[in-house]
Amino acid sequence: MKVAIKRISSDPLGLLGLCLVTLMVVSALGASIFAPYDPIQLNIMERLQGPSAKHLLGTDQLGRDLFSRVLFGGQVALKVAFLSIGSALIVGIVLGLIAGYGPAWLDNSIMLLFDTIRSVPTIMLALVTVAFVGASLTTLIFVIAASSIPSYGRIVRTQTLTIKSKDFVKAEMLMGASLPRILSIHLLPNILGPLLILASMDIPSIIALEAGLSFLGMGVKPPTPSWGSILNDGFALIRNTPWPIIAGSIPLVLATLGFTFLGESLRDLLDPKLRKSL
């Protein structure tokens, strides 16, 4: 781990990414400490203000402090990103292992399921689900997770198939090792590395997806702050003030850049082909 941090620090972009991600995570987790105001507290008297010492990023049309809303919006973004990727990873790993290790008919049916899900565009799936179930954080997480499962599942399946044919797995089977042992000791650790890198590189696109859906009003419900809904407010008021747009987009850009840089740096670091000795 120490070596990993050292390696990242020697890569300026990676370091920048690490700093941005840390900044985002700390500010989101500590939102209730850092935020000067309650993010949903209305203050009509001070509506549509520009940045000042009192309101660092100004206020929106209802007089809510934008800086506080940005901090709490980070919580929503992180929650959606980690919960959806986490659950997609778990389901994807389980299904992928079953498909790769199990009998051919099971493999084919799981692949068919994956292909069916993949053939539906994520945004469309989200719109339809929201239309049926109603907009909420849970719906959002469910939709994103469901549409990410196939890509993880496919990678796990392919890796499982490759590793299954290696001699060390065959030898284990020959010695009569149990299925859990083969899966947990031999297959999973060999699959996990590339999968985690892939997942870390998916985080920015999911944060952007959450913002996009919230912008369309399909994400989190108001008054819960989200970067997407701040952008939407700003969009409606673009002729009056630019500040909500700026307040909503800057964290989005920084978070996306941060996770992308970090993900790429991690990939370079952990890719077995590029790795010398860690």
Binding site: D167, F168, L174, M175, I185, H186, P189, N190
Partner: protein, 322 residues
């Protein structure tokens, strides 16, 4: 000849494929005397790997063995229950595979894998570790204490192959099957590994079944040689006999094709014209007749059988009987 550790009699293996029954092995006889090294040589697709996998009973599901006997230490391996077979493989029969990169799990340290493989022995972990380190020293790994905690990718191919040899010999098997163990290595490493195998074999007294398509390697290492062609044993005998007095036309041609025997620069490497016959659709007669330049009428009609040519030298060819 002393006692045989492995005795294969009349072994045939068929694969059921879409194109029909593929007769991968036909009536193979093979003896491995105790404490000797037997080499199996032949071109790709001649049934070397099928032979090995049928000894360790790991043939694919579409294979069946219509007839034959594989006797190892007085037990017919083909008739053993799966549990009994499991007790033999890994303790009495070990195998070293061709590609060391796929033999070891890349995410588990070498030491852990060496300890794990001793799961049968009820001894303390410390003893197992000591035993593994001793074994690593024996196969010539420098600083075994350090290497013990390293991961396979930190070792070169030659070192990984040494580790797999160490793991195979750890249990003190009476038969070591080496499936082209030097093919993935370069020439200098190859010599080292061969030397190592020979030393270890002398020290531990095990027998080795060495499979290769490299004649030079076989000549250097083995006591006896079995030449296979298209699923049949065409010639077998001591290394001296095979290399100095080859009797089967295939063996003669194979030796001519060995690049090591070329002394003058030439545009093309020598090769045996023609292809291996289709094993799903065998016509009668000698298996080698379509590539043999000395074939006679009899070769088309009768299948030659493996006959004693000279004391311990067996050949299956009509020409030797003329």
């Amino acid at each position: 000849m002393s006692e045989n550790i492995l005795k294969i009699r009349d072994l045939s293996v068929n694969y059921h494929t879409d194109r029909g029954k593929l007769k991968a092995l036909r009536h193979v006889n093979l003896d491995i005397p105790k404490g000797s090294i037997v080499g199996v040589v032949g071109e790709s697709g001649c049934g070397k790997s099928t032979l090995i996998t049928s000894i360790i009973r790991q043939l694919d599901d579409n294979a069946d063995i219509p007839n034959g006997l594989i006797e190892f230490e007085k037990q017919d391996l083909l008739k053993l229950s799966q549990d009994n077979m499991r007790n033999i493989s890994g303790t009495k029969i070990s195998i070293v595979f061709q590609n060391p990169m796929s033999t070891l799990n890349p995410v588990i340290s070498i030491g852990r894998q060496m300890i794990d493989i001793q799961y049968r022995d009820k001894i303390s972990k410390k003893t197992k570790k000591q035993r593994s380190i001793d074994m690593l020293t024996k196969v010539g790994i420098p600083d075994p204490h350090i290497q013990f905690n390293q991961y396979p990718h930190e070792l070169s191919g030659g070192m990984q192959q040494r580790v797999s040899i160490a793991m195979a010999l750890q249990a003190g098997p009476s038969l070591l099957i080496a499936d082209e163990p030097t093919t993935a290595l370069d020439a200098t490493l190859e010599v080292q590994i061969l030397k190592l195998l020979k030393e270890l074999q002398e020290e531990m007294g095990c027998s080795i079944l060495f499979v290769s398509h490299h004649l030079g390697v076989i000549a250097e290492l083995c006591d006896h040689v079995v030449v296979m062609y298209a699923g049949q044993v065409v010639e077998q005998g001591s290394t001296y006999e095979i290399f100095n007095k080859p009797a089967h036309p295939y063996t003669i041609k194979l030796l001519e094709c060995d690049p090591a025997s070329i002394s003058q620069k030439q545009r093309l490497l020598p090769s045996i014209p023609g292809e291996i016959p289709d094993l799903t659709n065998l016509s009668g007669g000698c298996i080698f007749k379509n590539r043999c330049d000395q074939s006679i009428d009899r070769c088309d009609q009768y299948t030659p059988i493996l006959k004693e040519f000279d004391n311990t030298h067996f050949v299956s060819c009509h020409l030797t009987e003329l």
